[in-house]
Every structure is written in structure tokens, then in C-alpha cells.
Amino acid sequence: MKKLRKSFLFDQDFCIGCKACEVACQTYHKQEPEINWRKVDEYEVTENKKLKSVFLTHSCNHCENPICAEVCPAEAYTVREDGIVELDRDKCIGCGYCAQNCEYDAITIVGKESKAQKCNMCTERLDIGELPACVRACPMGVLSIIETNLADRAGMEKEVVGFEANSYVPSTRFYPKFVTGMKRKEFSIKI
């Protein structure tokens, strides 16, 4: 059976910016403290003439046309059938072109080995039917995994405050703006 494309799905209206996703990614990978594959940013917006903060959690967006793969001279990047952009660090030569070109700041080449590193949507977990470390850790349930096609059919957005979709066609999807009285639809995913 063909594996369906997967996306991160984020509900900005209910994120509290606690950084559990950031930290859970680090502890799961025993990461160096200064390296974050997933980051939480805060944005100030004016709504009904009042200032408020909104948060964005972001990592690799597993783009449909990943620029990292395109510019990599070592052919270290591959795109899986389910859309996940994977990096083979044995092939990586640490040139940094991928990191320079990724407009989403999803790749880092600092760290002990001076090779590129980034989110792989925890493929090793997805492949055994488990959710990525960040999704599992989110205490607010605002970060999930969804089939990209289903997200699009269900009217999920491609952009949100702090995030613009560029020509690489990022796969990350966002819940539409919440209005009181609405009830948030939850999606279950068969991994």
C-alpha cells in the first residue's frame, strides 16, 4: 500500500508557548542544549485593537520541493514516499549549503560533528506506529500529525502568523482561526 504524505498540524490559537515540544525533542535525542530541531517563537499581534502574543512551533517542514535536497552536493537528502525529508549524515560533508538555503531555519550545522542536522519527523517512531517525540509531549494537544491530503480536504491552512508558505511547498498545516462557539475537529491518524 502506498504510504500517504504526512504533515505536522499545528493549532496556533491554543498554543501557550510552553516549549515542551522543543525540550522533548532535545531529551529524546540527548541533544546538545544549544541545538533545537524544533523551536517555539513568539509574535505580537494586534487584535481588536489589543496587543496579544501568539506562538509558533516550527521545525523542518518536509517540503514537497525541498531546497536542502536540491543544493546538497553530497546527495545526503532523500524524500521518503510519505513525504518525510531524510538526511543521511554519513553522506553529509558539512558544507552548510542546505542550512544557508532553508528559509525556515530548520537545519543546523553547529554541534560536535559540524554536520547538518534537522528534524526527521521521528521516522523511527512513525515506522513502528508511534508519534514523534514533540507531538507526544505537547500537553495542550496543539501539535499533531495528519495526512496532508486529508488536511487540505478538511480546510486546514498553509500559513499562520509567523509562517509563510514559499515555493518549496512546505507540508506543515495549520488549523483555521478559531472563533468562539466553534468546536475544534480532531483528526486521528493511522500511522
Binding site: V23, A24, E32, E34, K52, S53, P139, F178, K183, R184
Partner: protein, 775 residues
């Protein structure tokens, strides 16, 4: 041992973690990282050899998360949330994710040590446990013989809420000594004056009821940072129930951003707001007349009080608009099941009890108290009948010739520096709910310090430091897993196990579970659990009572939960081990022997444990205590102006209100040096000070400027972050960032008020004023 497998797939942390254990440097080394061999880019499955244990995070957070520790060969390789626990729902908070790194942090204290240099010099000598116990026993015995038992004190708070770690082990020793016990008053003591003065109960309803609410009001609380699961319950009222969310806070909290309405009150002006809401409810006929006539007393007095002020006057005092009061009152009255989740933030003021009393009026007026999912909720549920502490804590206190316990002096947490003064040491008069300072007849000569780090978390910490630095004979025994700020001042350092290494039970504050905590991991280094350490000191002091022979927490747990109520509820040791947390079912019937009043009385026949049996909107007790019997409108500013040691000039000299709320990255001082936490709480070597642009500009301060915060208590250094989430005139810094991690070895608590609240003898951390200057 609670073996279970909540997740099928597991990954191998074993190799790296074992290596990390071996490579833990000895005490005193840098606390910057737990070294892993390498980053695990694709963690693989474990080999199935893991054991799983239920533990309960014991940080005095209202969530009391049920967690599952994964252990191999005594080493904890992973920790996850318990999926079957209705509060935790499988997710720890942000910092809970780092418990492995916490447990094996490089600044764990690995063996007992005694001070050989001057305080703060960091010169230690490793000693054996036998020597440590002998030393402690001899010192304490000498002091007791020379000055009496009360010359020995304790310092403790909520670093570990386990009953055995916090209450049983230390309690038996300190009672036997006849020591100066500590009044543990930082948190929510005004609550137990304010709320019962209206509705008679110190106990909240089970807050899990709020899953049925259609309006969740978070008030004086930042659940997103201090009780994250309740942020989800609150937001789910809006997200899933189609209901509304309202935030009332002086700071725009994360939940405020996601609320239908955010009301930003000037700190400590909540009673003005409440009176305004009452005014609208009454004048617009929105209150529940049937409920009020049946159950409330003093309604006419309240009506009279609402007529004394215009809505404009009340709104102006709160720095909001009258329209906001009206809108809130209408939303509140329209809701079928409105829940107020009231935090501790509103209590740490000079008007804490009066503020809580005023908030308690609202659910009375709209008749919300007896509706499921509605009313007022706070972090204290009734678990008393589940335990019988007397079974494990015999009365060992010194007696007079008639066999009566001799009344002893107490010190209190908030004013510990005052209690430590050699010249006129003071504390509060525990006979009085109103603050009365009393002189301690016996100055303290030694203190046993456990489950806290006073140099980081006590207010006015420079005053504590003064005694420690000036009196080399003062003897400080510190039990701690880590090299904290306080360890720097200790004479004897005893490595204490963390909750992950100690079996215990504790309470879940807001939903009311009895929570079990397994000794999941093997003790690091030579650490011992608190119980064994206190028993060891007792034996070294020559005490022979049987309780000092019991070093197995299992025996104590079995004994203390052996009560008729627990039996009826089926709460047993075995069940706790198997299920992790067990909630007694509190019904009118099951609680009738223990608290036959609201919230445990028939919904149609409410009986309040107040003098009149009704909800008292007029309180003779508040009047007798010198406050307004209905709603009292004094604020922190009024307190400072009225008191001669401060006065109007003080507020001119220190004009900025300074709050110290908690960050989501620490809980009190816990996690303060964790490798994944520390870089997130420091701003280039300094703790952050959050300032409004207007206040910053007036002082020539920009984002990132290094500043000093100053008041009469001392000086602390920060790096400024310009924020818009509070009003001008209000500043804040995260509480309890470790001083020794900062460039200047100072922290916010140096500045914090060590005053005492109006009633209930609570703290006033929040009611602090400072001036900020560029360095």
C-alpha cells in the same frame, strides 16, 4: 513495584545513560551539562529489559503529575506521563521531560561532606556517613544541652511534597529534639481565611468537574506556566465545549492571549473589580435571587456597599474600563456552569485574605456553587481521612510535669531572616491570625535545612545571608540532592535522594488523588533518602524510639493509610503501587463523618460551615479583625502608604511594583541547573527583568541592558526584556533562578517583601516595590 508497559515501543538510552552515570564529576564541578556520548539522531528500541514504575512529581504544583519511569539495572533511562491519569493524560510539563537529566545532573552531591573553609569558599572534606551522623549528632546534642531544643530549627518547603520525606521523617526527629518548628507560610494561607469567611470551607470541589463547564475563568493564576494541564482543561472549555474562556490577571498570560476576554487588573485591586461585578449583577438583576435568599446572609449589606461607589470609580481603581466590568458580569451571569479557577497569585499581597474573600462572593451571587462544573476552585482538596499520621508519628514532643506538651516557639518561612537574627530574633504570634510579631526567647544556633533552598527561594534572602556570614558558630545542616545556593553556606552537607529514588505518597491538591511514588531508580552515589538521614541523626543523638528504626517507607505508607476511610474506599498500598494514583470518592455520604458541610452536602440543601450556616456576605470575623465586614478595598499601595516604616516617600523612592511569578521552566528552584533548562532561564548570564517600554525609556534602558533592582532590602542584577504584557509601573522577574548560575550571584528574592498578609499569616512576595537603574 509497578511494572507496566504503557507504550509498546521503547528506545535504548541505557548505554549513554550508564556512561553518563560513570562520568558524573564529583561535587563542586561545573553544572553546565550532563555529558552524553553523542547525540542520538535515530534512537532505537530498547531490548525489553525495562521495568516501569509509577512516580508522582512532588513539586507542589497542583497537577501532581503521574509519571512512568522506565528503569534498566537501577538506572532511569526515560520518563513519560501516565496516559491513564485523567490530569496528566500522558504528558509531563516542559520541565518534566527533563527528569532523566535532572536525576543524573553533574551537580548531584555524591557523598557527605563537611565544611573546612569559610562559608561560600567552597572548601569541603569528604566524610563517611558514620562520621556525618556522629558529627550531626554531637553538634545538635551539644546545642540542645547548652541552649535547649528550641535553639535547633528547621527550614523546609515544597521541594519534595512526599509525606515521608517532608513530614514523617523530619517530624519525628524534630519533635523528639523539641526543636523550633517552621510555620510554612509562603503559599496560600490567606485563602483559608478569605474563602471560609464566605462559604465555610477550606476544601475546594474536585476541579475535574470543570470538564463540564461552559465558562472557565482563570484568575490570579498562570496555568500555562504553573499547572499546564489545567491550562488545557481551561482552554478545552472553549475549544471543545463551545464555551468561553476569561483571564483575570495583572500580566497578559499565555491563556489571556487565547481568551474571549482578558481583564488586566492593577495588582491587588481585585476587590474593587469584584464589588463592581456585584454592583452590575445586582443593578441589572442578574443575580440568582432564589439562591441568595435561601443561602446567603448579609446581602443587604452588600447592596448598600455597591451603592457607595460608581462603576467608574471602581474601574478606575483597577485601571480598567466600566464597560469591562459590565461585560464580564453579563458573561458570568449568562453562563450555566461558570467555573473560577483561582490561583495563589492574588494571595501574596497585604490584602490577600480580603482579596480572596471578595472573589468568593461571585459564585454565591450567581448561584454557581452547587452546580456541577461551576463555582470556585482552588488547590486544596480534602484527603485528610485517607491518612492517620499519628500511627507513624508518635507524640515525642517534650512534656511538662503534667504530661502536657510544652508550647514551643516557632519560626516562619517568609521571615526566616528575622528569626535568624542574633539581636532580637522574631517571628509571628501563631495564636493570632492577624500579624503580630513576637520575640523568640531562644535564638537559633543550628538549622536542619531540607526540601528547599532558602538562599534562592526565601524572601529578603540577604537577611538570612547576614547571620550565616557573620556567625561562624551557627551550624547549618543541608540535605539536598544538588549543590544549591544554600549548600554554599552549609557546615554539613548530606546527599539526599530525589523523589525518583525514594518511595513515598503525597496529595494531589486540586482533584484529590492519593499519589504514589516508587523508588524507581537506584540512589546516586552515597545518597540516602530523607527518612534514613533523619533516623540516622536521631540514633546519633541517642534516641531509641521504635520509629527511628523504620527506614523502609513501604512500612510507613502501609501504616499511615490504614484508616477506616481508606479501607472503605479501597485505598491500599498494593493498589497505589499498581495504579499510581487513587482518588477517594467524596460524596455526601462518604464525607458525612469528616466534613458534613459544603462542598459535601446535598445540592438542594446547602449548609456552610460558617457561624450562620449561610454564605456570609457580611463577616463579623473580618470586622473583628479590623477589616471591612463586606468587601475591603485596601490595596498594597495603601498598606505601604499607611505603615510608618514605609510611607509615601518609600513609594516615591521605589516606584515600580515588582512581581516574582514562576516560569514554566522551573518550579521554585527545582530544575535550576538542568542542562536543558538553564540556558532558557538566563539572558546572557543574568536573570531577566521584564519591564514595560515606558518604564524602560524613562530610565534610559533598552532590551538587554544590565540593570540593578534596588530597594531597602538589597540589590539584585538583571538583564532587561522589554515586554507589553503588563501595564506601566509593573515589573516582574521569574522567581527562584539560582543565584550561583548568574554572573553576579544575586537573585530576585533578595528584593522580595518579607511582610505578612492581612489574615492567615501568608506571604507577600508579590507586594514588593523597587527602583531599577542602569549599571
Amino acid at each position: 513495584m509497578g511494572a507496566l508497559d504503557i507504550n509498546n515501543g521503547r528506545r535504548s538510552f541505557l548505554k549513554g545513560t550508564t556512561a553518563c552515570l560513570v562520568s558524573v564529576p564529583l561535587f563542586g564541578m561545573s553544572y553546565t551539562s550532563t555529558k552524553y556520548d553523542k547525540v542520538d539522531h535515530k534512537p532505537t528500541q530498547t531490548n525489553g529489559a525495562s521495568k516501569y514504575h509509577f512516580v508522582t512529581c512532588p513539586r507542589n504544583c497542583r497537577d501532581a503529575c503521574s509519571l512512568v519511569a522506565e528503569v534498566q539495572n537501577g538506572v532511569m533511562i526515560d520518563i513519560q506521563g501516565n496516559k491513564s491519569h485523567p490530569v496528566t493524560k500522558g504528558h509531563p510539563c516542559v520541565k518534566g521531560n527533563t527528569y532523566r537529566e535532572y536525576l543524573y545532573q553533574p551537580n548531584r552531591i555524591l557523598y557527605p561532606m563537611k565544611r573546612v573553609g569559610k562559608r561560600k569558599e567552597g572548601k569541603w572534606e569528604r566524610i563517611s556517613w558514620d562520621e556525618a551522623f556522629e558529627l550531626a549528632g554531637k553538634k545538635l546534642t551539644d546545642i540542645k544541652n547548652k541552649y535547649g531544643g528550641e535553639a535547633i530549627g528547621e527550614m523546609v518547603y515544597s521541594g519534595n511534597e512526599g509525606h515521608i520525606s517532608k513530614t514523617v521523617g523530619p517530624g519525628n526527629l524534630l519533635e523528639k529534639i523539641g526543636a523550633t518548628r517552621l510555620v510554612r507560610n509562603p503559599c496560600d494561607w490567606p485563602r483559608y481565611q478569605g474563602t471560609p469567611s464566605v462559604i465555610g470551607t477550606p476544601y475546594s470541589k474536585d476541579m475535574l468537574e470543570t470538564v463540564d463547564s461552559d465558562l472557565y475563568i482563570t484568575w490570579g493564576s498562570n496555568e500555562a506556566y504553573t499547572a499546564v494541564h489545567w491550562a488545557r482543561f481551561g482552554q478545552d472549555v472553549r475549544r471543545k465545549n463551545g464555551g468561553k474562556l476569561v483571564t483575570i490577571n495583572s500580566v497578559r498570560t499565555p491563556m489571556a492571549n487565547n481568551s474571549d476576554m482578558f481583564i488586566q487588573l492593577k495588582p491587588s485591586t481585585d476587590p474593587f473589580f469584584c464589588l463592581g461585578v456585584c454592583k452590575v449583577l445586582i443593578e441589572e438583576n442578574l443575580y440568582d435571587k432564589e439562591f441568595v435568599s435561601k443561602y446567603a446572609m448579609g446581602f443587604e449589606d452588600l447592596v448598600k456597599e455597591t451603592k457607595e461607589y460608581t462603576l467608574e470609580e471602581l474601574a478606575t481603581a483597577c485601571e480598567i474600563t466600566p464597560e469591562e466590568i459590565v461585560e464580564f458580569a453579563r458573561i458570568y451571569a449568562a453562563a450555566k456552569r461558570p467555573a473560577i479557577a483561582h490561583g495563589d497569585g492574588g494571595q501574596r499581597h497585604f490584602n490577600g485574605a480580603r482579596l480572596v474573600r471578595a472573589v468568593t462572593f461571585l459564585p454565591v451571587l450567581v448561584g454557581a456553587l452547587n452546580k456541577k462544573g461551576a463555582g470556585l476552585f482552588w488547590a486544596y482538596t480534602n484527603l485528610g481521612p485517607c491518612y492517620d499520621f499519628s500511627k507513624v508519628m508518635p507524640d515525642l514532643s517534650p512534656k511538662d510535669e503534667n504530661g502536657e506538651s510544652i508550647k514551643r516557639q516557632t519560626a516562619n518561612y517568609v521571615q526566616f531572616g528575622r528569626a535568624l537574627k542574633l539581636d532580637n530574633p522574631t517571628s509571628l504570634d501563631t495564636e493570632s491570625q492577624v500579624y503580630k510579631e513576637v520575640t523568640l526567647p531562644t535564638p537559633l544556633r543550628a538549622v536542619i535545612h531540607y526540601n528547599t533552598s532558602m538562599m534562592t527561594t526565601a524572601p529578603n534572602s540577604d537577611l538570612i545571608k547576614k547571620r550565616l556570614m557573620e556567625d561562624d558558630d551557627f551550624y547549618l545542616i543541608v540535605l539536598d540532592p544538588f549543590h544549591t545556593d544554600t549548600v554554599d553556606y552549609a557546615d554539613l552537607v548530606l546527599p539526599a535522594g530525589t523523589f525518583l529514588e525514594s518511595e513515598d505518597v503525597q496529595n494531589d491538591q486540586i482533584s484529590g488523588y492519593v499519589c504514589y511514588n516508587a523508588a524507581a531508580a537506584r540512589l546516586v552515589g552515597e545518597s540516602k533518602i530523607n527518612l534514613e538521614i533523619f533516623n540516622g541523626i536521631a540514633k546519633a543523638m541517642g534516641y531509641k524510639e521504635e520509629c527511628f528504626n523504620i527506614n523502609d517507607p513501604k512500612e510507613i505508607i502501609k501504616n499511615m493509610i490504614d484508616t477506616p476511610f481508606s479501607k472503605m474506599q479501597g485505598i491500599t498500598y498494593e493498589r497505589l503501587v499498581k495504579e499510581g494514583q487513587v482518588k477517594p470518592i467524596r460524596t455526601v455520604d462518604s464525607m458525612k463523618e469528616h466534613f458534613p458541610y459544603y462542598p459535601y452536602c446535598p445540592e438542594t440543601e446547602l449548609k456552610f460551615k460558617t457561624p450562620s450556616g449561610k454564605a456570609e456576605l457580611y463577616s463579623q470575623y473580618f470586622k473583628d479583625s479590623g477589616f471591612h465586614p463586606v468587601i475591603d478595598l485596601d490595596t498594597d499601595w495603601d498598606y505601604y502608604k499607611a505603615h510608618k516604616e514605609f510611607g509615601k516617600e518609600y513609594l516615591e523612592k521605589y516606584p515600580l511594583y515588582f512581581m516574582t511569578p514562576g516560569t514554566q521552566l522551573q518550579n521554585n528552584s527545582n530544575w535550576g541547573t538542568n542542562k536543558y533548562i538553564l540556558p532558557r532561564v538566563l539572558f546572557d548570564g543574568y536573570p531577566e527583568l521584564f519591564m514595560h517600554k515606558k518604564d524602560a525609556q524613562a530610565r534610559g534602558i533598552k532590551e538587554g541592558t544590565v540593570v540593578s533592582g534596588i530597594n531597602e532590602k538589597g540589590k539584585a542584577f538583571f538583564r532587561v526584556r522589554i515586554k507589553t504584557d503588563m501595564n506601566p509601573g509593573v515589573t516582574y522577574a521569574w522567581n527562584n533562578i539560582w543565584c550561583r548560575t548568574t554572573k553576579t550571584d544575586t537573585g530576585a528574592n533578595i528584593l522580595c517583601s518579607d511582610g505578612i498578609s492581612d489574615l492567615g499569616q501568608g506571604s507577600t512576595y508579590t507586594a514588593t516595590f523597587i527602583e531599577v537603574e542602569k549599571v
